[in-house]
């Protein structure tokens, strides 16, 4: 079944994990949903890259974290935090493209 991420996740957020990297966290509503997402590898470099319109090679890590029913994505920031041309020093508002994700669960 295809479901919108906004129906199955209770947290979708972005933040710097260093001045050079962004991390995206998706925390699912319960263990059952999370396990299904994980089993289908429903969050993967291809669909995250497509959501942001960037090459999949820019995604440097995807980690499924069982204790929190969560999946984490790490990508390089286009511009280092606070350097000229940056738009979001804390990286806290880079999550919106994830809200359009539809996942196989």
């Amino acid at each position: 079944m295809i479901r919108k991420i906004t129906e199955i996740a209770r947290v979708v957020r972005s933040k710097n994990c260093s001045p050079f990297e962004l991390t995206l966290d998706m925390i699912f509503q319960d263990k059952a949903i999370y396990e299904t997402v994980k089993r289908h590898n429903a969050v993967n470099a291809a669909n995250i890259a497509a959501a942001y319109g960037i090459p999949a090679s820019r995604i440097s890590g995807i980690v499924y974290f069982d204790p929190a029913n969560a999946v984490k994505v790490v990508m390089a920031r286009p511009v280092a935090s606070g350097a000229p041309g940056d738009t979001d020093v804390y990286g806290a508002q880079q999550h919106a493209p994830l809200l359009g994700l539809k996942l196989e669960v």
């Binding site: 947290v11 933040k15 710097n16 994990c17 260093s18 001045p19 050079f20 990297e21 991390t23 966290d25 925390i27 959501a51 942001y52 319109g53 960037i54 890590g61 980690v63 974290f65 204790p67 929190a68 029913n69 969560a70 984490k72 790490v74 390089a76 286009p78 511009v79 280092a80 935090s81 606070g82 350097a83 000229p84 041309g85 940056d86 738009t87 979001d88 020093v89 804390y90 508002q93 880079q94 919106a96 493209p97």
Partner: protein, 457 residues
């Protein structure tokens, strides 16, 4: 000499707030004190606010807020006769930040008749030491940065390193009741004393990793509320100090993700925390116990260096647009305004770079914005000029702003002006511009790399 340390049954650490100066409710703090903590520890720093603060030697927190928090902490520590440890003082933890915080502490002592022995541990690392490390092949780049070289070291304002628990332990062992530290690995201030007293390093560091954000790991979370961490033999326990909040297995596990690139492995000075086997257990009272944290010492002891370099000055101008014809052509208009401005700058020999932040289009996400169409009925714009000279930044911003204000774009029927300025003056001096250029690891076996001063207050 072998030292046998018999651990007490438990060790309580009170964490008042996520960042010194963010504040906390007095009632929560009092509840914490009633539990008789063995230590009050607080992290004062973050790189989140960007490179400016480290470069300019300024705090991103307000002096009045920091003084208020410190007054509560220092008075309580004196009253209970327990140590207080403050890390990453002044936000960025370089010498000017530490000295700024020291002055606040001295003021509080004088005003409240407090006396104690204070250890100040600076995190500034000499360029000579870093150059020697480069020479010896003892530095390592992080996050795709280029390898560290002498030219970069020469350009940065100064270099700080995140200290581990050892320098703080030295200050505590010297009898200091208050330790004021420069840039520190966030968990260090919470873990230094209990580890010195024989508690498990992995549990102490993992507990510090959560306590450094105070109540952010509770639910509902808050960066401005107190929590207690109780370290025991085979676990640690997180205790909320405000009846509005509780810790749950989920809130605690979710926090482990926060701002990390890999929640299973958290690197720090001298090794990493391995949380592969970690277990969160809820206990009554909104408390959570955490088991099975592991620490894996690395072969080479690495510390993280941070340094920023000044690349110039910034001027910005803020305005809005409401004309639908203009909004429909905004991409072309910006391109022409940029080209016209740049040609004027070139003719006048003004060196500057221009950035146009268009809110309502892609002001927040820039090149990462997947939504290409503009649907807004109004747009906000920040015109930004960055230049090596302050005057050049002001000139470039001014020229771009006036060019945009009066540009006769194709199809224009509103011929009086293109921008709505909310302020007079329209242009603002944004100060110095810095960029992070050192974010590297350096091998270090020398605990005295961090300079300590002891004073009696």
């Amino acid at each position: 000499m072998e030292k046998t340390v018999i651990a007490a049954k438990e060790f309580k650490v009170l964490s008042p707030t996520a960042i010194l100066g963010y504040g906390f409710p007095e009632a929560s703090f009092k509840r914490g004190l009633e539990m008789k903590p063995d230590l009050i520890a607080v992290d004062a720093g973050s790189v989140d606010p960007g490179p400016y603060y480290l470069g300019a030697g300024k705090s991103f927190t307000d002096r009045a807020g920091v003084k208020r928090d410190l007054r509560f902490i220092l008075r309580a520590a004196a009253e209970l006769d327990i140590p207080a440890v403050i890390g990453s003082a002044g936000g960025s933890g370089a010498r000017p930040h530490v000295d700024w915080c020291r002055e606040i502490i001295e003021e509080i002592c004088a005003e409240n008749h407090l006396n104690f022995k204070m250890g100040i541990v600076y995190a500034d690392i000499s360029k000579t030491a870093v150059l020697a490390a480069i020479e010896a092949g003892k530095t390592e780049a992080l996050h795709g940065l280029p390898e560290l070289d002498a030219a970069t070291v020469a350009r940065v304002e100064g270099i700080v390193a995140q200290m581990g628990i050892e320098p703080l332990q030295q200050a505590l062992a010297a009898g200091c009741r208050v330790v004021l530290a420069g840039r520190a690995y966030d968990p260090s201030v919470f873990a230094a004393l209990p580890v010195a007293e024989g508690f498990d390093k992995a549990l102490a560091l993992h507990m510090g990793k959560i306590l450094e954000c105070a109540a952010i790991a509770a639910t509902p979370g808050s960066g401005s509320d107190c929590v207690m961490g109780i370290l025991r033999d085979d676990h640690f326990e997180l205790v909320p100090l405000n009846p509005l909040r509780k810790f749950t297995a989920e809130s605690t596990a979710a926090h482990t993700l926060y701002e990390k690139s890999d929640p299973y492995y958290l690197p720090g000075p001298g090794g990493r925390l391995n949380l592969k086997a970690v277990r969160f257990e809820e206990v009554p009272g909104g408390r959570v116990r955490v088991y099975n944290s592991r620490f894996e010492a690395s072969e080479r002891k690495m510390i993280k260096l941070e340094g920023v370099e000044k690349i110039g000055y910034r001027t910005v101008s803020i305005a809005g647009m409401r004309d639908p014809i203009m909004i429909s052509k905004i991409a072309d208009i910006i391109e022409t305004v940029r080209a016209n401005t740049e040609s004027t700058l070139k003719a006048e020999n003004i060196e500057a770079e221009l950035y146009f932040h268009i809110y309502g289009k892609n002001g927040v996400m820039g090149v990462l914005e997947p939504e290409k169409d503009v649907a807004a009925h109004e747009l906000g714009i920040v015109i930004e000029a960055v230049a090596p000279e302050r005057k050049a930044a002001a000139s470039a911003c001014s020229i771009a702003r006036s060019t945009m204000l009066h540009y006769g774009y194709p199809g224009r029927i509103a011929t009086a002006g293109n921008l709505a300025f909310p302020f007079s003056p329209s242009d603002m001096d944004g100060g110095e511009v810095y960029v992070f250029s050192i974010y590297h690891l350096m091998e270090n076996d020398n605990d005295s790399l961090f300079k300590m001063e002891i004073c009696e207050l």
